[in-house]
Symmetry: C2
Subunit: 304 residues, 2 copies
């Protein structure tokens, strides 16, 4: 049972991430139709993008929040997989020529380069449907919990307050100057909303009370912002080897980023402040939020 | 209350369709963010395609099955809207240049022609998320019913047995000859699966027993096939004015169609046989399936 892996005591954060990733990958492998199942093109394309070496950050966050608040590990696994499906579909569609037009992701050709635009579009569409199907059919959770997680995921993925809205804001902003507030607003939607929804879903599955859910929301909002700031920093400071992609791409694309707006040093300072706010949000949660604090520390210090 | 409209006695099929469409359109207008809500581009694009004069056939079928089996009309409305959102997202994505590359739909520029490919892609993505959100938050239905409808919709929309799979099969088949069996298989997925899911969702909301659900599944499978056969026939026999689009497009695109494979007369005969099977599936359902039979008659005889 892969779900038992994530029930073991946490030796350290790195092994938590590794165990979580192994459990999620194994379950995703079962949930997605095999490559030879027809229509083979779409299933190959889905697996190409879903098993491309992703860090499974959103699933890990959902599991970490759920475990911290007392949920049974097995109860978290399918919802965690659903969030990864939505994240992966968004990467496939964002890479399309009409969107960000990226040829490479994690050192490999992007989905549409490998399988063509039509198949990539359909692979993303199918992954979105499969995400909601997966939660709706999760027999370990009461239906009342399933519909709450589906609502969270759909709002975090959609519009006007989710990921698709963020991508649309970003496209609208490409043609003009963006200030710091607007940049933060775009990031909060484009990457933050799904991260917050993942954390809140962990809390929903753990049947957290309203005060705890609100604290988790604050924590995850900070974490999402921190994730984006350090992503921007890595784009200007990391080596290609660390990053698995070409650094400096944002600057060449004249994208609005924190370093471009504030400079590297001020951006590092901003990251420290956001990290402080993020961990402070956890102060009233009992018994131990060590795992969640460790995740915030990890994001602050990450080099890839 | 727009849902009361569909509670009125059915004077005839045409007024049933009209009442249903009015109720669905009003509710869709409330469910989708207003055009001025940011990001405005996506909300304009969604509304452009959602309110383009669609017949609301899938919502009407869901409502007709649900009412026939005793569901309260108000309980059917949000699920009906969700099916229309999925249908509309699929039209937006199917029209994209990388897919069917259509510039006109219902006499107007398609979504990507009007708003650009990126915004059209995002509008489709957002509509899919909103469909599942809408059902998950339908407080008139017990959570247990909501998750069953979400599962039906997701399977009917996705892969390997839903709409996306059908579109992928269709794309794969474009480069080679297709026989009658394969054509029927493609249609069953591409248009049939969502039609069947809509009908089955009406039965789920009405808490139908297994035998009744099975009969509804047979009925809707026949109806979906009949819908596609008459669609193919209209493409070769109807006038542009009736159709609201240019007829003969399939033939010029060398698409596999029933008339292309069997000729017009044999295709008409096939439609009559499928109609017979479709209505026969209803024979054991009590008390009256007059509305469902009338819908099958309507599809057989439609001229647009």
């Amino acid at each position: 049972m892969p779900s038992e892996v994530i029930a073991e005591p946490i030796a350290n954060l790195r092994s938590f991430f590794a165990d979580c990733r192994a459990a999620v990958d194994a379950e995703l492998g079962r949930l997605v139709p095999a490559e030879e199942v027809r229509p083979s093109s779409v299933h190959q394309a889905i697996r190409w993008s879903l098993f491309a070496g992703g860090k499974r950050f959103r699933p890990a966050l959902l599991v970490a929040v759920g475990r911290t608040l007392g949920a049974a590990p097995a109860d978290l696994l399918l919802s965690a997989c659903a969030f990864e499906m939505i994240h992966t579909y968004s990467l496939i569609h964002d890479d399309l020529p009409s969107m960000d037009d990226d040829d490479l992701r994690r050192g490999r050709p992007t989905c549409h380069v490998r399988f063509g635009e039509a198949t990539a579009t359909l692979a993303g569409d199918a992954l979105q449907a499969l995400a909601f199907q997966t939660i709706s059919e999760d027999e370990l959770l009461p239906a009342e919990v399933r519909v709450q997680v589906i609502s969270e995921l759909a709002r975090g993925a959609g519009t006007p307050l989710g990921m698709v809205a963020g991508q649309a804001h970003d496209l609208e902003a490409e043609s003009r100057d963006v200030d710091g507030n607007e940049l933060e607003g775009i990031h909060q939607l484009k990457t933050g909303a799904l991260i917050v929804a993942a954390a809140r879903s962990g809390a929903i599955i753990a049947r957290a009370d309203d005060a705890t859910s609100a604290a988790i929301t604050d924590y995850a909002s900070g974490l999402g912002l921190l994730f984006q700031i350090t992503d921007d920093l890595l784009d200007v400071t990391a080596t290609a080897q660390d990053l698995g992609k070409t650094p400096g791409k944002d600057a060449r694309a004249q994208k609005a980023t924190y370093p471009a707006l504030y400079g590297i040093e001020a951006t590092r300072q901003h990251a420290l402040e956001i990290h402080e706010k993020t961990t402070t949000a956890l102060k009233d949660i009992q018994p131990s939020t060590a795992l969640l604090s460790a995740i915030a520390d990890f994001i602050l210090q990450r080099n890839a």
